[in-house]
């Protein structure tokens, strides 16, 4: 079990302040996130995916079960800072996570909190800003940047902390298509070149399709877990959780359902889908 950076064990959670315990949000989640992987967590609104994310760096503590971050129990208060510097978190609204009004000073916020010496902060800030492609904007005011740029600054602010894992809670929900692409490219690049573990919470199928592993949640439980290619083949099951599948899969699935054609469902990219259709047409 040394390879997993985040491990949840029968994780249960209910908001305590509601009467009679309130409805439970998480009903026994068992999840192992391997170091260096790129995991997408997909789910409908209210499936508990954001609540799960907040357990990954001790923003919320489990009502039942346990969460281990690199072997540390998140309920152990003496390890709180270690847990938070291991797992960084990026949220939906970039405006509400930027603390300073100069880009580089915002990126410096986390290392400053950790008591890193000034020269080292400078180095980390420059590196983080270069990693997200925002180095030229280091002296800009964040409120003058576009949504995608702001979100990249927020990501840089987390990278500067040198975390081993980054959890992103719907980081593209408030962005336009251009901003979405910028942010996703940044995330994938980080995972690939720096080996940072990425947990991407999303409800966009195409974003989820880019991950190595896809975890589908519904009603506070993990209902599917595997490579995106495999999971997306379970079209009917996904639909029953209120989710759609990527358009390519949808198209192939319809061909199968309606016309009884024998096409594979695992073509995720546009090119793969086109190839399948081409093969189909030339075979006739």
């Amino acid at each position: 079990m040394n390879d997993s950076i985040i491990r949840t064990q029968d994780l249960r959670f209910a908001y305590p302040d509601t009467e009679a315990g309130g409805p439970s949000v998480l009903n026994g989640v068992n999840l192992d996130i391997e170091e260096g992987s790129f995991v997408a967590v997909l789910g409908h609104n209210g499936s508990g995916k954001s609540t799960l994310a907040k357990h990954m760096n001790a923003i919320l503590l489990p009502s039942g079960g346990a969460v281990y971050v690199s072997g540390m129990d998140t309920r152990d208060e003496s390890k709180l800072l270690d847990i938070r510097r291991t797992v960084g978190m990026v949220f939906q609204n970039p405006d509400n996570q930027i603390v300073a009004n100069v880009v580089e000073e915002d990126v410096a916020f986390a290392p400053e909190n950790l008591g890193v010496p000034s020269e080292e902060i400078r180095r980390r800030v420059d590196e983080a800003l270069k990693a997200v492609g925002m180095y030229e904007f280091r002296t800009h005011a964040p409120h003058l940047l576009s949504g995608g740029q702001k979100q990249r600054v927020a990501i840089a602010g987390v990278i500067a902390m040198a975390p081993r894992c980054i959890v992103l809670d719907e980081p593209t929900a408030m962005l336009d298509p251009v901003g979405r692409r910028e942010v996703l490219d940044t995330i994938r690049e980080l995972n690939r070149t720096s080996g940072v573990t990425v947990v991407l919470i999303t409800h966009h199928m195409d974003e989820a399709a880019q991950a190595d592993r896809l975890v589908v949640m519904s009603k506070g439980k993990v209902v599917a877990d595997g490579a995106p290619r495999e999971v997306f083949q379970r079209v009917e099951e996904l639909k029953s959780y209120g989710l759609t599948v990527p358009e390519t899969t949808e198209l192939l699935w319809e061909l199968r359902q309606e016309d009884g054609l024998d096409v594979p469902l695992d073509a995720l990219s546009d090119e793969e889908c086109a190839q399948v259709l081409y093969d189909l047409l030339t075979a006739v």
Partner: protein, 268 residues
């Protein structure tokens, strides 16, 4: 849109001498300058203070336009001061209309008061225009550091101030957006008496407050995620260090106060 004109707490990035000066120096110089202004009594001392200020504005490359624009909200106060001083200073009468009279002393004191307020505002503008809010609060935190021993939460106050400054443009933008949304649904913010105008603000303030609370909550969580745990053991990206320009600045400030004090002593 009038909201966009608010320049309070705004910072213009730059590389002038004033920009490069240590924020602590600038804070202390501002205090020194204000002290000097209140010691000024006559044309010569006011002239001296004005020359120093004009030189500072020129060096800062901020541009007179943005300073003048920032004056807009205080125009009423300035006019009121001018009128009160003009009509209510006793002395040698030069003009009279009913109960209104203007005296030579009143004329002088009105001019000086207006000048004093304008210079006061300009010098504080120079401070905020040339110092990034983070550096400004750093400077304040550093200068007020000794108060920590008296259990004054200096770091917390400085943090609150810098966050408040950071969110001014965000909240202005949001206010603009809510106003447009309410206007689109027929809200009227511009006509009617004072009471009506105040009432029209309710549908603006309620959503603004709700959103500000939501933002505060999210920001607090985001700060915790980035390991914020108060001022203890915090380091800074930029360490504050006094350099030669700071010593030069101090020298100038002290000289100005001394000069004005001497002039005052001789009744000038």
């Amino acid at each position: 849109m009038a909201l966009k004109d608010i320049t309070l707490g705004q910072y213009f990035p730059g590389h002038s001498v004033l920009h490069r000066m240590d924020p602590r120096t600038k804070l202390l110089l501002t205090v020194l300058y204000i002290a000097a202004l209140f010691l000024c009594k006559n044309v010569i001392s006011y002239g001296l203070a004005l020359i120093v200020l004009a030189a500072a504005v020129a060096v800062s490359k901020v541009g007179l336009k943005s300073i003048v624009r920032g004056m807009k909200p205080v125009v009423v106060i300035i006019l009121l001061t001018a009128v009160l001083n003009l009509f209510y200073t006793p002395g040698h009468e030069i003009w009279r209309f009913g109960f209104l009279k203007i005296t030579t002393e009143g004329l002088w004191s009105a001019a000086f008061m207006v000048l004093r307020i304008l210079m006061l505002i300009t010098c504080t503008f120079l401070l905020t225009y040339t110092t990034s809010p983070i550096l400004l609060t750093d400077g304040l935190e550093n200068l007020l550091g000794p108060l920590k021993k008296l259990r004054v939460p200096v770091h917390e106050l400085a943090m609150m101030m810098s966050i408040a400054l950071r969110f001014i443009p965000t909240l202005i933008e949001e206010t603009d957006k809510i106003m447009s949304a309410q206007r689109a649904r027929g809200a009227d913010f511009d006509t009617g008496g004072l009471v009506q105008k105040a009432k029209a603000l309710v549908p603006l303030l309620v959503p603004l407050f709700i959103s500000a609370f939501r933002r505060a909550d999210e920001l607090a969580v985001a700060m915790e995620c980035r390991c914020y745990h108060g001022g203890e053991g915090r380091t800074r990206l930029r360490q504050l260090r006094y350099q030669s320009i700071d010593y030069a600045g101090f020298l100038l400030g002290v000289l100005l106060v001394a000069a004005v004090a001497v002039l005052r002593h001789f009744g000038l």
